[in-house]
Point group: C2
Chain length 134, copies 2
DNA sequence: TGTAAAGTAGTAATCGTTATTATTTTTTAG
DNA sequence: CTAAAAAATAATAACGATTACTACTTTACA
């Protein structure tokens, strides 16, 4: 009596595209990437599957920036940098939240912390260069 | 030849409401709070002023959760806990990002970090209690 | 293959947010 | 104390990312 997943070709392609990029794409970006290969792909399908991946833990939402939700196929804990100039979202590794004392704090507050996300805002390397040369 | 700000009564009331609550409200929440006292208040005015406060540094956006942008009148650096059960957004003080080495990292990456926000997800104290008693 | 469950395409609907325009409020000059 | 200019607002329409819906297609499995 258990639900059986029908793993479609398009679902696989969406997940593969998400896992294969480091650009933390929006639903529309994934859609545009796959459209040439799957001309009858529907944008709704991309939205539905991205949402599903987040629920099943195969992906995470990085957040909503400038009105667009960005996704990440890398579910390992790491931070992100959002560029205020070009809107790019980049991985930032090497910032461990282990030493912050989250466990002790959640015990003190009486809450339950299941996830911690660190988001930096500023300028990406490319936009830093452009600003210097200007 | 400089622009002069006309500080209206409603703008002051919106900022006061935002500064006077710890609930990290949405635009609509602020609107509902002020509606009894200002019956002709327009929701657009609340949106416009909240956006303006963020631009002028009088407030910050905590992020978009479940489709609603949440604001905070406390611009001092601190983290937030978003409850997945009831949607509440709470302040979390006592988590300093000073020791993470952001400066060294931004120098290594060649980027420019202007802001760092830490957002925790899980259960707020109230929902932890409810879950225990269930 | 055949059948039922799951998935998708195409389109309409939803709804938080923003833009627009006429009107009102605020500032400041005379 | 007026009055004109600048800024702000109310009311409404428009926008656009996301979701819902329905008929059709694909997948899993006997």
């Amino acid at each position: 009596m258990e639900r059986k997943e029908h793993f479609s070709r398009k679902r696989a392609a969406i997940l593969e595209t998400l896992k294969g990029t480091a650009c933390h794409p929006t639903a529309d970006w994934v859609y545009q990437q796959l459209k040439p290969q799957y001309p009858d792909l529907s944008l709704g399908t991309v939205y539905r599957n991205l949402k599903r991946f987040c629920e099943t833990g195969q992906a995470v939402s990085v957040g909503v920036f400038d009105g667009f939700e960005h996704f990440d196929g890398d579910t390992s804990p790491h931070a992100h940098l959002v560029c205020r100039q070009c809107g790019a979202v980049m991985d930032v590794f090497g910032l461990s939240l282990e030493g912050l004392g989250l466990e002790r704090l959640s015990h003190q507050m009486g809450c339950q912390v299941e996830n911690a996300s660190l988001t930096l805002k500023g300028l990406c390397p490319d936009c830093v260069k452009q600003e210097k040369s200007a």
